[in-house]
């Protein structure tokens, strides 16, 4: 437990991805089986243990502290797990702190009535960091800025494994992953991939440089719309429950039961997860966001934002692995498959159409004219390319439509993180409504390092107020902000949310009064 607690503690404070990888690799290298495997499972969200409710923890601590002192402390600290970890009376130096593996196996075997006593005994034998880590583990949801993907990346790097290989076998393995660690340490063979509903690594595209078009033959490619949803893999099954995987390999089945329930077919499909808008068109991304990251799915969400998958590729058809076939053959199999789908499934799965074009010029025109709510641009796919895991150069290109831009006024600046912590690098900008500025978004990239220094200097010299890491500035600097789409939003004061805003130009020359007005931005909203 000590090593795992130290790892969590370090990860909480570590701002950089590289630093996190370093910490994870060190943990795998220095922690024995099975603890490191359970640690990995806790980070990857695959650890299945009974969770403790906050009410139980409150009960445990109230038997050990004065309630008035507890409430002063909780007010000050703010986080229940941390307050209890710090308040818990230290004492049991004599007892050995339990290993993570011991905690997991004991909890799984214990009857529910014994759990409070077990927790108390462990708490007594741990130090403050250990107690905090234990409570985080018990309450579920570590929230320490490490995704399943990052944890697996660290494991792959540490064991010199191919990440795609690891992803492929991952869902067939169980904590504490001793076979996986043996493989990473070259003590064992690559574990076998599970049959059926397991995750297969995605094929990813590269951004198209428009100058590249002249070197490409249009006859070699097909075009599809690029949808603004989230990329998913549907591992359907007629026997076991179907599963839905995000690009990271995270299993998001539980969040989208409307989709998985309809996937009772033996095939693995690749497509875009979207929610229905008016009629057949998908709704803007903001609507899909209402469905993301929810552990418990309310019926109201299911009704208001029905999800579906717009399918564009097929990896498995029954037992047949199609991935080595050229796109043309896979597409044929996919079209046949989609035609035979029962009506109920058709409401949740439809086919992403191929966009016919004669020349690059014609396609450029098509791309410019398309501004549907959930269209981000076009995808170009080479007709003869197999389905290759990872991001191979050449077979698939994404060709996003040109961004929209507005001139907005800098309103607040916040200190960045890690390398940027000495700079004001996160910028909130707004536009005019009558004679007041309303914030419409936040951008933290798009500028060079040299420009960041200039922006930072400007912020320091024009600060009107400070709130912790945030400074309010006088309305004096205009930023040209580029973004992919503007959408209606009830969560923003301005009523508008921008997709992927970034600073495209700093308009040192432009007076703030000449920046855009809210009405102008509202006209850019899709469907407006």
């Amino acid at each position: 437990m000590k090593a795992f607690a130290a790892l969590l503690d370090h990860l909480v404070y570590q701002p950089s991805r590289l630093g996190k990888l370093r910490l994870l690799m060190d943990y795998f290298a220095t922690t024995p089986d099975p603890d490191r495997g359970y640690g990995l499972a806790a980070l990857a969200g695959t650890l299945d243990i009974p969770h403790a409710k906050p009410a139980l923890l409150r009960k445990l601590i109230s038997a050990r502290t004065d309630p008035v002192l507890f409430s002063y402390s909780y007010d000050y600290v703010g986080d229940l797990a941390e307050t209890i970890a710090l308040l818990w009376p230290a004492g049991g130096e004599a007892t050995h702190p339990p290993a993570l593996g011991e905690i997991v196996t004991t909890l799984r075997a214990a009857p529910k009535s014994k759990v409070p006593d077990l927790i108390a005994t462990w708490m007594d034998s741990l130090d403050a960091t250990g107690r905090w880590a234990l409570l985080k583990l018990l309450t579920g949801g570590l929230r320490i800025g490490v995704s399943a993907r990052l944890a697996k990346t660290a494991l792959a790097q540490w064991g010199a494994l191919d990440l795609a290989d690891l992803e492929e076998i991952w869902h067939g393995q169980e904590p504490p992953y001793t076979a996986v660690f043996a493989w990473a340490e070259k003590r064992g063979d690559k574990p076998a991939a599970a049959r059926g509903t397991s995750f297969r690594p995605f094929m990813l595209s590269q951004a198209l440089e428009e100058s590249e078009l002249t070197t490409l033959n249009p006859a070699d490619f097909i075009a599809e719309w690029k949808w603004d949803g989230i990329r998913v893999q549907v591992a359907g099954s007629t026997l076991t429950p179907a599963r839905l995987f995000a690009r990271s390999g995270d299993d998001i089945s539980a969040t989208f039961p409307d989709v998985t329930d309809a996937a009772s077919f033996d095939a693995v499909l690749d497509g875009e997860l979207l929610v229905r808008g008016d009629g057949a068109d998908p709704a803007p991304f903001a609507d899909l966001q209402q469905r993301l990251n929810r552990k418990v799915v309310a019926k109201k969400q299911l009704d208001t934002y029905p999800a579906f998958v717009r399918v564009y590729d097929m990896l498995f058809d029954g037992e047949d692995d199609l991935r080595a076939l050229p796109w043309t053959d896979r597409r044929k199999r996919l079209e046949d498959f989609m035609e035979k789908l029962p009506a109920a499934a058709q409401a949740r799965f439809d086919l992403s159409p191929v966009v016919p074009f004669a020349s690059w010029e014609a396609l450029t025109g098509i791309r410019a004219s398309a501004r549907g709510a959930a269209m981000e641009g076009l995808m170009l796919k080479r007709r003869n390319a197999p389905y290759i895991a990872g991001r191979p150069k050449g077979p698939w290109f994404k060709w996003k439509r040109d961004p929209l831009t507005i001139d907005a006024v800098l309103m607040y600046a916040q200190r960045g993180h890690g390398k940027r912590s000495s700079f004001y690098s996160d910028f909130t900008f707004g536009v005019w409504r009558d004679d007041e500025l309303v914030p419409v978004g936040k951008a933290y990239f798009g500028f060079t390092d040299a420009e960041l220094k200039q922006l930072d200097g400007w912020v320091r010299n024009n600060t009107t107020e400070r709130f912790g890491p945030v400074r309010a500035v006088a309305p004096g600097l205009v930023l040209e902000v580029a973004f992919d789409a503007a959408q209606n939003s009830t969560r923003h004061k301005s009523g508008i949310a921008l997709r992927f805003p970034r600073v495209s130009r700093i308009r040192w020359d432009k007076p703030a009064v000449e920046a855009d007005r809210l009405e102008t931005v509202a006209k850019l909203v899709e469907g407006a």
Binding site: V12, Y13, Q14, T65, D66, Y76, E82, L86, L87, A128
Partner: protein, 382 residues
């Protein structure tokens, strides 16, 4: 074991009842040996906007504005301020004030343990264990003894003598870390974490934010005791006080100014700077530093994260919760007055112990390194 020693109020109240029935000796024998006295006992000490005024002595303790006669507990900026008519303090505290503000009018040094009559009050200074020169002020007037703790801690510090327990009628205490969540870990273990980070990130400079007076020198000494003998690099604002500590016999080992060093020379090194310089432009000269901060506040994760600290080191020069309560039991005063910090929690704990207590709500004293705006060190480039 209960989290709050002495939380069993019934037991201590019982002890007080013993006192009323059978007198002081019995109470001492019982073990709950707090003196009991009337609340009006020390009416000769007044809370004024200038600070704690000792009326029959004609002086103010740690005044926040210039006064005719000041008695200073220690050299931190919120306790020692310039411009008084006369200043009484320990020799190191006066030397620290000279480094910070230049020579002061009416300087008078008093050694630990020496008694001096000021007006009608007998004054003595005793070590507070907080920083070099820090003192508790022990005062006697008409048979009543009052001790003003100043800032203090109870654990060992290689840079200054330990806190001396002085029994008294009224103990006037600080309460900076008076919440049961503040339990400072062993400082050796915190230093080990810093060195562990150097092992994990051997190419990155380790930038440690630490108060320039006291904390910085203590960290240097703790590093030396742990066997770290490489040169330690210093922000320009640290140099003068480190030299002063050396003059008072604290052997800090090899210290090198950051100024003028090529960037690469700092990789894998420990660099000390004032907390305010951590996120200042000054730190940009370093290549991807690991930012550490040594403070009792680092105990709270949100606090540390807010400051963008990557490696929080829980090292404080103030008493933590258990040390505060232990001090109440050791000093065993008749009553406790609380100057600055989390007064309400300490008052509650004293209530549970059956000790009369009141909060003085003094203004002008800051929490240790509480935030950027308050950090008294100038973040001058060095």
């Amino acid at each position: 074991m209960p989290g709050v020693p002495g939380r069993n109020a019934a037991e201590t109240l019982h002890a007080r009842e013993f006192y009323y029935r059978y007198g002081r000796a019995c109470v001492a024998a019982y073990g709950a040996h707090f003196r009991v006295m009337s609340a009006a006992a020390a009416s000769w000490i007044k809370v004024t906007p200038a600070g704690l005024e000792v009326v029959p002595g004609g002086f103010v303790i740690d005044p926040v504005v210039p006064v005719d006669r000041a008695v200073i507990t220690h050299g931190h900026g919120d306790h020692a301020r310039p411009g008084h008519g006369a200043v009484l303090a320990t020799t190191p505290t006066l030397a620290i004030m000279n480094v910070r503000f230049g020579p002061q009018r009416g300087e008078q040094a008093l050694q630990y343990g020496e008694a001096l009559k000021i007006g009608d009050v007998t004054v003595r200074l005793e070590p507070a264990g907080h920083v070099l020169g820090s003192a508790q002020i022990v005062m006697e007037y008409r048979g009543i003894r009052v001790v003003v703790s100043g800032d203090y801690k109870r654990r060992r510090d290689p840079t200054c003598p330990p806190f001396a327990v002085t029994p008294c009628d009224v103990f006037i205490t600080e309460a900076t870390f008076a919440l049961p969540v503040f339990c400072h870990p062993d400082d050796g273990a915190e230093i080990a974490r810093l060195r562990e980070s150097l092992r994990l990130f051997p190419d990155r400079p380790h930038l440690v934010g630490a108060y320039a007076l006291g904390k910085a020198q203590r960290i240097i000494m703790l590093l030396r005791e742990s066997g770290y003998d490489a040169p330690i690099f210093l922000h320009g604002a640290m140099a003068a006080l480190c030299n002063l500590y050396r003059d008072f016999g604290v052997a800090l080992g090899e210290l090198t100014p950051v100024a003028g060093q090529p960037q690469a020379a700092l990789n894998g090194r420990i660099v000390l700077c004032p907390p305010g310089a951590l996120a200042d432009r000054w730190s940009r000269r370093m290549n991807e530093p690991v930012t550490a901060m040594a403070s009792g506040w680092m105990r709270i994760r949100q606090r540390a994260k807010q400051r963008g600290v990557e490696l929080p080191l829980v090292i404080s020069d103030h008493a933590d919760w258990n040390e505060l309560l232990q001090t109440m039991r050791d000093v065993a005063p008749g009553e406790v007055w609380i100057t600055h910090g989390r007064e309400e929690a300490l008052a509650r704990a004293l209530e549970l112990m059956g000790v009369p207590a009141k909060a003085l709500s003094l203004i002008g004293y800051e929490d240790e390194n509480d935030d950027d705006a308050k950090a008294p060190e100038p973040a001058t480039p060095a």
